[in-house]
Symmetry: C2
DNA sequence: CTTTAAGTAGACCGACTGTTCTAGTGAGGA
DNA sequence: TCCTCACTAGAACAGTCGGTCTACTTAAAG
């Protein structure tokens, strides 16, 4: 079926087919992302996603195996988009001060926390709703957090040496700020995380008088 | 009905009635606490709670208005128990070093994280499953976190002066450690939080030699 | 025009869900 | 003994859920 080899003169068959499929699919994915995050995965019924995205029921089950597949796509999408945003934010902060790297990471979180639908880290929410330790939520949460930690560590390592424990402390501050902002809005958790992170970086990574080994 | 004033010679009527009601109710509350936390609030059906606690359907709806009421009782119970555990742990750590106070708080979290059913902070999980900003989950989460922060601040203030921002940084570390331990098990997030907290306390609250220009 | 394929609209199904209700049980107090 | 009251066991109910299926439309390709 796939190698009948007769439509080689129309090179858009493969790619264009997905392009044509995109509009409806993209609407579906966008509203799924919005609703699954803002109103919860279990709380959001398939019907609500279909209505808000103006997509027919058959389209969903034609493109995805079911709701579980749509959830997995939602998580992957979140991972890709958030990681891209963090990457550009960190790359954009190319000052000499390593603390600016951590600030850039927190800025991404803080700007998101100022949107009305903010409820905290999407992966923490997903794991809370899908307890299975071997399920997609746990998988993507681990993947995402590990990737962000690696990104942060790499960006800092370009400037100073970063012990593993310090990197973990910064991750704890990042996740804690996201969670605290969700649970206790109006408490300036991001600023508190920034202050702690800056102290951690300036004292643990940049001793005031550089020892001979640096 | 309530003031017929004839059974004053049996003073156990009021209290004992609740005592007699306790066994079944306590079984119900204990298994509800266990299941709602470990398997999720929405995921756990009423029937499963009833079966595992060996309690009849009528008992639930006789003592509670419904599942929502049971959930509220679960959250209140978690708040009371956790707050008590944290209180005794902090009181028990009556050394001179203020960092020991924060260590005691983290010890409570870490010991819970070593139980098999650990999934992170129960209130963060509840809020994730019940997005309503004015619902019981958001209420108890705010109440609980605020209480713990106040407890921590008070215990530290007994030893050193504690700026608001530093207290918030410590809360971010605490919540972040609980969340990180849930999302990335085996990463020693508590030790990282302890290190960051100790640094924060010893430098921000106890400057070794108060330099004029620091 | 015919074919192929994707999308739409909506009825429909089985499997749950939380909740109510009825009938019966067993212990303690009057 | 009678009565009360908490509890048990289980049927039954309305509602919602995810998922399947059918009939129709649209549009590009031959």
């Amino acid at each position: 079926m796939t190698q009948t080899g007769e439509a080689e003169n129309t090179p858009q068959t493969g790619v264009e087919r997905q392009q044509r499929r995109k509009p409806g699919l993209e609407r579906l994915l966008a509203t799924a992302d919005e609703l699954l995050y803002a109103e919860g995965i279990q709380q959001t019924g398939v019907q609500r996603i279909l209505e808000q995205s103006n997509v027919a029921r058959g389209t969903l089950y034609g493109n995805f195996g079911g709701k579980d597949d749509l959830i997995a796509a939602y998580l992957q999408r979140r991972h890709t988009h958030t990681l891209a945003a963090v990457t550009t934010a960190i790359e954009h902060a190319h000052s000499d001060d390593p603390a600016d790297v951590f600030d850039a990471l927190l800025d991404v979180g803080e700007s998101r926390s100022q949107q009305g639908s903010f409820r905290g880290c999407a992966f923490a929410l997903a794991v809370a709703e899908m307890p299975a330790a071997d399920g997609p939520a746990a998988h993507w949460a681990r993947t995402h957090k590990t990737a962000i930690k690696a990104l942060l560590k790499q960006a800092l390592t370009g400037r100073v040496a970063v012990p593993e424990r310090t990197a973990e402390s910064l991750m704890v501050l990042y996740d804690g700020a996201l969670l605290s902002a969700a649970l206790r809005p109006g408490e300036d958790s991001f600023e508190a995380a920034r202050a702690a992170g800056r102290l951690l970086i300036t004292t643990a990574l940049l001793p005031p008088d550089p020892a001979p080994g640096s």
